[in-house]
């Protein structure tokens, strides 16, 4: 039991240390990109934004409508129609602050985090990272930086869409289904929706994006000589991302509360 705990703690420590090292090297290559490679890195980054953001949008769209309706349904059960302002407040506290960054992060972990790990794992196995570096193109700059920045941007935008769609669908259903005046809910939202709330939500999504991509890259780069390590890298990336995203979510929430 003790040795199991020790091994788990050591594995967690190594993952976090790898994550920090990778993020530092990405930050360093961000500075280098200002000198050379801007155009190519930008192209890869835009592709990453497209694959992560645009292609996940449909999923996020459906989930955000469902979440908006589910929240409004539950709130209508616990409050009467005259308490529309409370529903608005709950929307801000639950959806905008917590659910939107978390659910969009989960979608991206499942779609893009594992895809990045598998793609980089395959490149590593086939020696393509070396091929790239033989051309004088640093792997960190061409492979890691655009993925980390691209997923960060995509998650930031997906989070904004999620908020907008979930709140709109919730408002619409509460008005049509429970005849709660829109003005009451709007009043509740406006009374608590400050720049700070939006900042919490946005900074969470941006940070989650960066961490998910970095963990995907890290898992992919750890692939050795065996092809069986590629699916393992995908799984590892998903598990590590889930754990770290939830921990970060709690930490950020606590930081902003106190």
């Amino acid at each position: 039991m003790v040795s199991y705990l020790g091994r788990s703690a050591l594995a967690a420590y190594i993952t976090v240390a790898d994550l920090i090292t990778l993020l530092l090297s990405v930050f360093k290559s961000l500075v280098d990109t200002l000198v050379s490679g801007r155009r190519s890195v930008m192209q890869v980054c835009m592709r990453q934004v497209f694959f992560t953001g645009n292609e996940a949008f449909k999923v996020v769209f459906v989930i955000s409508i469902a979440v908006g309706i589910a929240i409004i349904s539950q709130m209508s059960n616990v409050t009467d129609a005259g308490r529309g302002s409370l529903i608005g407040k709950v929307f801000v506290w639950v959806v905008i602050r917590e659910l939107a960054p978390l659910i969009t992060a989960l979608v991206v972990i499942a779609r893009s985090g594992s895809a990045i790990a598998i793609e980089l794992g395959q490149m590593k196995l086939k020696g393509e990272i070396e091929y790239l570096e033989t051309l004088g193109i640093p792997g960190e700059q061409y492979l890691l930086l655009p993925r980390v920045v691209g997923v960060g941007i995509a998650l930031f935008v997906l989070n904004a869409y999620f908020n907008l769609i979930a709140v709109s669908s919730g408002l619409l259903v509460s008005w049509l289904g429970w005849q709660i005046p829109l003005s009451h809910i709007k009043q509740g939202i406006i009374s608590v929706l400050s720049l700070r709330e939006l900042l919490i939500s946005s900074s969470k999504s941006l940070l989650f994006g960066v961490v998910i991509a970095a963990l995907g890259c890290n898992a992919g780069l750890r692939v050795g000589d065996s092809i069986t390590q590629i699916p393992q890298a995908g799984t590892k990336s998903v598990i590590h991302s889930l754990v770290i995203v939830f921990i970060l979510d709690v930490l950020i929430s606590f930081t902003f509360i106190f």
Binding site: D32, S36, G37, R38, R39, S40, E119, Q122, M123, K126, G127, E128, E130, Y131, L132, E133, T134, L135, G136, I137, P138, Y142
Partner: protein
């Protein structure tokens, strides 16, 4: 000058001890295919020797930092046996990756230079296909064209002529020879495990395991 002084490396059976002077052409013949890749990795600084000294123009690549290593590698053209491509980029993107990355050349000039080197190597296939759709000969043509865009002073051919038909070998060896002769400062290294494939090559030095033999 490329110097391998009593180099012992992982996965290479014998000690490597030879020098290739600037402007010359050398054939390095090893016993196993894997050793050709190891020598390329040594030359490009991916692998340090276990023992001995290795230098390219007095630079020991394994002692360089990341930035210096990137700059060093820009001066070497490597034609890998499988072409050395990024599999999710198409032929054109692979060809122009390095000059696009540099960002110092305009798009129209990249287009012009790309077309020109393709013409030189005689590639007239599709540019939009992924590299895994190419034949071995086409891959090496594209790899050669990509190296030409860098205009390197050191060209390294890793088993480039192996596994090709006689006419394909002749085509690539004449391209390599012609590139080599265009500038007196250009050095060429053919690394192979199959000495027969070097028939069309005029090498100043043929290094076999155990010693150097002037040709």
């Amino acid at each position: 000058m490329v110097l391998f002084s009593q180099v012992i490396a992982a996965e290479v059976d014998s000690m490597l001890d030879f020098s290739v002077r600037r402007g010359s052409s050398a054939a390095i013949v090893v016993s196993r295919e894997i050793e050709t890749r190891v020598i390329v990795r040594l030359l490009t600084g991916f692998l340090p020797p276990l023992e001995g000294v290795l230098s390219v123009n007095d630079i020991q690549p394994y002692l360089l930092n990341d930035k210096e290593l990137s700059d060093f590698r820009k001066g070497i053209g490597v034609i890998y046996d499988d072409g050395g491509f990024i599999s999710n980029l198409n032929v054109w993107e692979n060809l122009t990756l390095q000059i696009s990355y540099e960002g110092i050349v305009r798009k129209s000039e990249i287009e012009e230079r790309g077309r020109k080197v393709l013409e030189v190597v005689g590639y007239d296939g599709s540019l939009s296909v992924l590299p895994n759709r190419l034949s071995m000969f086409e891959r090496r043509q594209i790899a050669f064209a990509r190296a030409l865009l860098k205009e390197p002073l050191l060209m390294v051919y890793q088993s480039t002529l192996d596994g090709l038909s006689r006419s394909e070998q002749k085509h690539l060896s004449s391209l390599a020879q012609s590139y080599h002769e265009q500038d007196a400062g250009r050095t060429s290294m053919y690394i192979t495990s199959n000495q027969d494939s070097l028939r069309g090559i005029q090498a100043d030095l043929i290094y076999n395991a155990g010693g150097a033999t002037p040709s």
